[in-house]
Every structure is written in C-alpha cells, then in structure tokens.
C-alpha cells in the first residue's frame, strides 16, 4: 500500500469516505452498463434510397400472413392474403408510429405490421425495417 494510502488510514473512518476514495455502485441486477455499438449503416443508407418491404419475402413467396404475423400456407382460415405490392417504407414508418397501413382494414394492417416487426436480419425487407425504427442523429 502506498504512503498516501497509509496516511489516509490514519484518518477516522467517517471522514475517510469523504476525502479521496471514490464511491462505486455495482448497480442493480437487471440494469445494463454496456452498450455495444452496432452498424448504423442500415438506418442512414436506407434513408437515402426509398425502401420497401415485401410481405412475405421471396423465399416464402405467396404464403399468407396470420394474425400473429407468421407466414402460413395460403388459404389458412383467419389469415390474410399478402399485399400485391411490397409495403412502402414511408407507410410502414407511419404505422410504426401508431398509425395504420393505408388502404387496408385494421386487422389486416395489424397482421402485416406484426410480420414486419418479426423480420430478422438476412430476410429481405429487414434492412428497410431496421432503418425505419432507428432514430438517427
């Protein structure tokens, strides 16, 4: 232990807290102390070109969209036929902000939006979706 430290040990305990030793909180179990930076590429790149989200993606082309957003065989009861055109990025952005997709009824809009929210990286439309929900700047 350094000379400095020994001196400090001579100071009465109560005052020692206030004279130099820094206080440190370990934090709550559920809290988080690390943010790992992810590429913002998607957000800015897609704000530059207008993007669209095919529903469903080409790999599952022409499946239907169930109320929970999953892709199910066409004709499944209670599921919705996919939109004829890919969803426009701007329309999805408004729906994400609490609105509804234009030109479709409420339940259908909800199902499509659940599909969009479930998109994973590597699925077509994901880059577009990622860009819409990430605040920038």
């Amino acid at each position: 232990m350094s000379e400095d430290g020994e001196q400090r040990n001579d100071i009465p305990e109560r005052e020692g807290v206030s004279t130099g030793r820094r206080a440190l909180m370990l934090g709550a179990v559920g809290a988080s102390a690390i943010v790992s930076i992810r590429p913002a590429l998607a957000s800015t790149a897609v704000s530059i070109v207008h993007c669209q989200i095919p529903v469903p993606d080409a790999a599952r082309a022409s499946g239907w969209i169930a109320a929970d957003g999953s892709v199910v065989p066409s004709g499944t009861a209670g599921a919705f036929a996919p939109p004829r055109q890919p969803l426009k990025g701007e329309a999805v952005k408004q729906a994400l902000a609490g609105g509804q997709l234009p030109g479709v009824e409420y339940e259908r809009s909800q199902a499509y939006m659940k599909y969009v929210r479930n998109l994973h990286s590597g699925t077509s439309g994901f880059t577009c979706f990622a860009s819409l929900q990430m605040p920038r700047g």
Binding site: L41, T44, V49
Partner: protein, 286 residues
C-alpha cells in the same frame, strides 16, 4: 451503358451510367462547374437501369445500382431520375466510403473552422447550411461531412443541396440568384428541389477545415439551447455515421478525437431566423 456522366465532388469521383439520356443531361447541367475524377478513375460506379428491357420505354422506372447496393431499394419513376442519381451516389458513399469517417451532417466553414450540423431528416440541417452560405460561410456539404482519421480535418462534399417541401420556398426567397434543379413533385419524401452550391463552394472544395462546433438542430420547437455531454455526442454520432463500425479502430480514433475536441450544443428553433441567430451567437462565443 448508353449514357455516361463523370464528376468529382470534393475528394470523391463518381461515374454514373444510365439507360436513359434524361438524368444524365440534368446531372451534366447542374454539375457543370465541377471537375472530373482524379486520374480519370472514379471511386464509385453508379448505374441507373430498367428492371426489364421494356421498362425502358413502358412506364419507365429507374432502378438504382452500382458498386454497392441494398436489396430493398424501391424504383423511382423516370421523371425523378435526377433524384435516383443523387440517391445512388449517396448510397455509394454510405455503403462504400472507407477513407473518411462519414457523418450524416451538413457542414459550413468560416476562417478555416468548420461548423457541423447533424440531425434527422426534417431537422433543417440542409436549409440552415444553404442559408449560412448566403451570410459569409462557405458551404461544404448538406448531407455528409467527411472526417479524415489521420488529420482530424473535415473535408467538403458539396453535392447538390436537397431541399424538401417548405424549405424549397424558403431557399428560393433567400437566394433569388441561385441555380436550382427541376421541381420534383410527389417523391416518396414529398416535393424535392436541388440547389446548386455557389461557385465559391465548388472552387474551395479541395480545402478542408478544422472542426470547431457541433450542433444538433431541431426544427419546430420553442427556442432552446443546451449543451450535449461527450458520452451522448459519441453515441449519437455513431448512429449518424454510416461507416463508423466498418472503419474499425481508425473510426474510433477519429470519433473520440472529434467528440473530445469540440463543444456540442442542441438547438431547438421555431423558424430559420431564430436558428441563424442562435448559430451566430454560439459561434461568436467560441
């Protein structure tokens, strides 16, 4: 490709090929005073093409391609071909630029020192940069600021300034003598009109400047100015950079140096007059 246009904007050379003559003619007119890519070799290739051969003529729609592409890009009608070209060039920068740390920010310079303004679309950073260029500042760019990781200097990238919706009339009124591109109505972001940077901006585009102040403008709020702490600035700039992660340790160096080197303020403003006064006051107080 059938029609070709080449240009250098700041340190970056582009080659644009197109299936149609229209967008190329517009680019050539608007970028008339700009130089050619250095050594005749562009940094990036851009392609404007028809998805199917017949879409060249029947309901022509412009697909965007080039060295770097994203899978979800939507085509634009041929009438918006100029916009498609601008987007495609920006996309090459966003995805392919590796020499400079790219900040999604506008930049203006005075006395060799640079003011950076970053914010979401609609924050007014383009409009403010354009208006400041009328008041003794040099326009360096309205979309991307290029930070050199070796020197820490900001390089100019004075592409056409993209004015949207209400900002179009503001800029037209403030700069009656400026040159503008065609008014593009009904784009996915509303009306867009491009402003040609003035001759001074183009003449000085190879001169970098030292970053001096960073602002986060926000339009449509009661006037307010508050300091932004370095930790928050760092986080926000990583999200305002398309290539921060890809730049690796050079990006980390460039960004920490910038964040610790210059003050940062968030400014809220109800109209551009307020904003200009806030900017001048903060600048004078440096």
């Amino acid at each position: 490709m059938r029609h070709v246009f080449s240009v250098r904007i700041g340190p970056v050379g582009f080659r644009v090929g197109s299936d149609w003559r229209g967008p190329i003619r517009q680019l050539a007119a608007l970028y008339a005073g700009y130089p050619q890519p250095e050594d005749g070799v562009p940094d990036f290739t851009v392609r404007l093409f028809a998805q199917r051969p017949w879409r060249r003529v029947i309901r022509p729609a412009v697909m965007i391609g080039g060295d770097f592409m994203i899978p979800d890009a939507a085509p634009l009608p041929l009438a918006q071909g100029l916009l498609a070209a601008e987007m495609a060039m920006n996309l090459q920068m966003a995805l392919g630029q590796r020499r400079y740390l790219l900040l999604h920010a506008s930049a203006v310079e005075r006395d060799g020192r640079v003011l950076l303004m970053t914010g979401e679309s609609g924050s007014g950073k383009s409009t403010l940069a354009a208006l400041l260029s009328q008041r003794g500042w040099r326009l360096m760019g309205d979309e991307f600021a290029l930070i050199d990781p070796v020197t820490g200097l900001a390089h100019a990238f004075p592409r056409l300034v993209s004015l949207k919706n209400a900002a179009i009339a503001v800029a037209e009124a403030a700069m009656p003598q400026a040159r503008f591109g065609p008014l593009l109505e009904g784009t996915p972001k509303g009306a867009i009109r491009h402003l040609v940077p003035d001759a001074a901006a183009v003449a000085a585009m190879d001169t970098p400047g030292k970053p001096a102040l960073l602002l986060f403008p926000r339009f449509g709020f009661a006037p307010d100015i508050r300091e932004v702490a370095p930790g928050e600035v760092f986080m926000r700039l990583t999200q305002a950079s398309t290539n921060y992660v890809a730049m690796g340790e050079r990006g980390f160096d460039a960004l920490t140096r910038l964040v610790l080197g210059i003050p940062a303020q968030a400014i809220d403003y109800p109209d551009t007059d307020h904003a200009l006064a806030q900017v001048e006051a903060l600048w004078d107080a440096l």
